[in-house]
Symmetry: C2
Subunit: 219 residues, 2 copies
């Protein structure tokens, strides 16, 4: 391993398959009666801890939640925020919005809150763009998402929450910032396309419309 | 594929190997004389475009940079920001900081700027925590990082930059936000551990110190 492992074309093709098959999973898909073993959660954490982090600062903390009382409190915050959210959409979309299942807090056997913990001193690489600390935590979350999919486990990211309320519920330190609240569990099936694509809530963008060469205008 | 592909234990083990072998690559490792084929960059973009995004908003734009004049301007911003950065560290660390090679803008045959493009209207899931738009772009970047590693290509994230200057250099639309500036190319070797770990700039955190159960205090 002196020079680092060389991967094969087949290895890269398998990673592409995992990436293409990863889905955001909500409560209408989770198997509520199939627990997730601690060893499986450990594999997700290992994936997270080996994400890149600015200046090797590893600015992440993970709260693994199975307690139904904690889940219920978080679900309450979702319900409040979701009731506010629906009014932001055009009248014609509100009925459709209300039909969508947008979280799986109670259904998923395991929830996980992921926090950014700022470092006490200056961090190498974080001196000009401070938000790269939070971005490191997101890299860890994406590693977990792919590892969950490779383990045939569903994961959903719930962002319709009041982060301050979630912090209070979890007794998080004042300086920590909630980055993501995740729902994790086995699923009845993985959809073959994103649900919001299938339901035509949003269309997939045209590939060439988001790629530029050397500068904007260079397409 | 009706119910989505089932992956094997070997598949998950391979993903773990890719994750464990991924490195942040700087200019001291890039092969300056080995170009990266457009087909390879296409594979990275495919990985990015299949990342999760809040409300399927796909709020990302990619500028692929090979023009040496553009690279030189970006390198100038790095040099300015890095000179400011070194003074933030304790005197005893400044000599060590100055010895570190922290980017590969000129050495890497391909650079890529990745932007967040806000949506015009409300986005499903982005109504309570607006920063999840930027986080979607980070998920796309982490997909590219893993795919690059599986293709035995190095990638480095340069964050010691003035994002406003980079936006001007690339003529980016006013509302876009620079998320990452990436250096991409073949390498002489991949280090087997993070460079800042090897150099003892930062230590790897103890696993149990960042994991909590049900709430903080529950360790």
């Amino acid at each position: 391993m002196e020079a680092g492992k060389l991967f094969s074309e087949q290895d890269a093709a398998l990673l592409e398959e995992i990436i293409l098959n990863r889905r955001d999973v909500r409560g209408n898909r989770f198997c509520t009666d199939k627990p997730v073993a601690d060893e499986v959660i450990d594999k997700l954490i290992t994936a997270a801890l080996n994400a890149p982090s600015v200046g090797f600062s590893q600015p992440w903390e993970f709260v693994i939640i199975k307690d139904e009382a904690v889940k219920l409190k978080v679900k309450q915050s979702f319900t409040e925020e979701n009731q506010k959210a629906v009014n932001l959409f055009e009248d014609s979309r509100q009925a459709e919005y209300n039909r969508l299942k947008l979280e799986g807090i109670i259904e998923a056997p395991v929830n996980m809150a992921v926090f950014y913990k700022p470092s006490a001193g200056p961090v190498l690489g974080q001196t000009s763009m401070s938000e790269v600390g939070q971005y490191s935590v997101v890299c860890a979350i994406q590693n977990m998402w792919l590892m969950a999919r490779a383990l045939n486990i569903g994961m959903g990211w719930v962002s319709i929450l009041d982060p301050h309320k979630v912090k209070n519920i979890l007794r998080a330190p004042q300086q920590n910032q909630l980055i993501a609240y995740l729902c994790i569990g086995y699923v009845d099936k993985f959809l073959t396309r994103p649900e919001l694509d299938i339901l035509q809530w949003e269309k997939r963008k045209v590939r060439d419309s988001v790629i530029f060469h050397d500068q904007y205008g260079g397409q």
